[in-house]
Structure formats: structure tokens, C-alpha cells
């Protein structure tokens, strides 16, 4: 085992299909982390994940307070589902999440996309989902390189030591 040859990752393709704040951030942290390691990185946003690259929405993402069993009150008490349904609660919780994220020097979504782009990572939007949500290239963040089909995205997964990650 000691002489086992290692094959470090060379390329990572990430797919983000959900638009909750934490889902989009998880994708962006992983994408940026790969770029930082010198790994070739491509990110594909589809369905509600498109919120993460839509100019009007990307900095206003929310965290779900209903149907989220991992949700806790500050201090760790359970967060009742009925509470999450009261108007304003989701906005308040999301604002709190954003504050905590900011304290860790994690950037806003738009700045995160700029960081990934600056490091050579590529960001794509899904053709099918943009058609469905009636989004055009100009509605999307300037860092979005192109609107492509899933087939075209798979074509980019050529070469050895490549991984596709669905978040």
C-alpha cells in the first residue's frame, strides 16, 4: 500500500440544481476550493439553482425555515415548523445566516462568482432550465460563460481524474 500511486483530481464538474442559500453556497465553496487547488473547474446551474446566477436574485437567496429538520434556534433548541411559516421569519433567519457567513469571510454570491471566474473556473447555465424560467443570457450574472445543454456539459468531462459532483 505504501507504494500505491496516487492520481490527484485534475478536473471537477459541479451541478447545482437547488436555490436555497446554503445549497448555492455549498456549490460555490466547492467550486472555488477546487479552483484554489489548481483543479480545472466547471459549474452548471440548473432548475432552481439558476437563482444563484440570476442577477436579480443571486444576492437575495433564502434558507428554508419550513421542511428543514436540521433548522435550530440560536442556542440549539428545535425550530418548530409552524414558526418557520410566519411571515418574516424566513427573511430574518436568512439575514442571520448571511451575517454568520460574512463573519467567516465567505463572500456574497456575486463576489463568489467573480472569485471563481478570476481563478479560471467556468460557470454555465442549463439551456432547458433557462428556457423553462424564460431567462436570457443578459438576466444572468456576467460571469456566466454560456448557456449550454447537459450533453455539452458532459462533453467537458473528458480526460482522466475527472469527477462530476451533484450538490
Amino acid at each position: 500500500m505504501a507504494n500505491e500511486v496516487k492520481h490527484p483530481l485534475k478536473k471537477v464538474l459541479l451541478i447545482c440544481a437547488k436555490g436555497n442559500l446554503e445549497d448555492v453556497l455549498a456549490t460555490l465553496v466547492m467550486a472555488n476550493g477546487a479552483v484554489m487547488e489548481g483543479i480545472e473547474t466547471k459549474v452548471f446551474f440548473t432548475f432552481f439553482g439558476l437563482d444563484g446566477i440570476t442577477k436579480k436574485r443571486m444576492n437575495k437567496l433564502h434558507t428554508a425555515t419550513v421542511g428543514n429538520p436540521a433548522m435550530r434556534m440560536p442556542g440549539g433548541l428545535p425550530f418548530p415548523t409552524w414558526l418557520g411559516g410566519i411571515p418574516g421569519v424566513e427573511a430574518g433567519v436568512s439575514a442571520m445566516m448571511k451575517k454568520q457567513i460574512d463573519d467567516l469571510d465567505i463572500p456574497r454570491v456575486d463576489e463568489f462568482l467573480e472569485m471563481i471566474d478570476a481563478g479560471g473556473g467556468e460557470i454555465y447555465a442549463c439551456k432547458l432550465a433557462t428556457d423553462m424560467f424564460k431567462l436570457k443570457k443578459e438576466d444572468l450574472s456576467n460571469e456566466v460563460k454560456d448557456i449550454i445543454t447537459i450533453g455539452e456539459f458532459y462533453e467537458m468531462a473528458d480526460g482522466l481524474q475527472t469527477q462530476i459532483i451533484f450538490t
Partner: protein, 103 residues
């Protein structure tokens, strides 16, 4: 734990090749480390290395974002200065420990 000679001085390195004692660092050593990778360090490189060393000395967290806001270079420029894995490489040349940040 390993020792390696740089610029005529024996340096204590950790398992990843990073300095265990940042005080042993000098510009000559950094230049020699870069040369091992076939790279030449410019004044701009050294400005970044000094920035990193000061950040670590202050005990504040070091991220690519903070380097982008340093006023020395933007993030794109940082990737150009230290191609590949810039934060890992820059901290290596700066004689500080391996970065523990995710951003």
C-alpha cells in the same frame, strides 16, 4: 519533521514542506524555494509574501479574498503571480504554515 538547506541555512520543515518557524524566513530563502519550481519572484511577489506574513503574525485568518482586498493585487492577479494553487504556494514561499482556510 524534516530539515532542508535554503540559502545556506538549515530550515525546519513540517511534513508538507512548510516552515515550522516563520522567523527563519528570509527573502533569499523564498527566492530559492521559487527557483526549485522554476519560478522567479518579483517585487510584487514579495509584497504579497510580506502581506501574508503580517496577516499570520496578527493572527488573523488568511483567505484568497483578503489578498484580493489587500490593495497589492486583485484575485486574478494573485492567480497569475502564483499559478496553480496560489494560496498554498504563496504561504509556502512566505515561510508560514499551510493555509487552513476554505475560501
Amino acid at each position: 519533521m524534516a530539515q532542508k538547506e535554503y540559502a545556506g541555512k538549515m530550515i525546519e520543515l513540517d511534513d508538507n514542506g512548510y516552515f515550522t518557524n516563520p522567523d527563519e524566513w528570509s527573502k533569499e530563502i523564498a527566492a530559492e524555494m521559487a527557483k526549485e519550481n522554476g519560478e522567479e519572484l518579483s517585487d510584487k511577489h514579495f509584497e504579497v509574501l510580506e502581506f501574508i506574513r503580517n496577516k499570520i503574525k496578527e493572527g488573523s485568518s488568511l483567505t484568497i479574498r483578503s489578498i484580493g482586498k489587500s490593495g497589492i493585487t486583485d484575485i486574478k492577479g494573485f492567480y497569475k503571480l502564483f499559478p496553480g494553487a496560489p494560496l498554498k504556494k504563496a504561504t509556502l514561499y512566505a515561510g508560514v504554515s499551510k493555509p487552513s482556510s476554505c475560501v
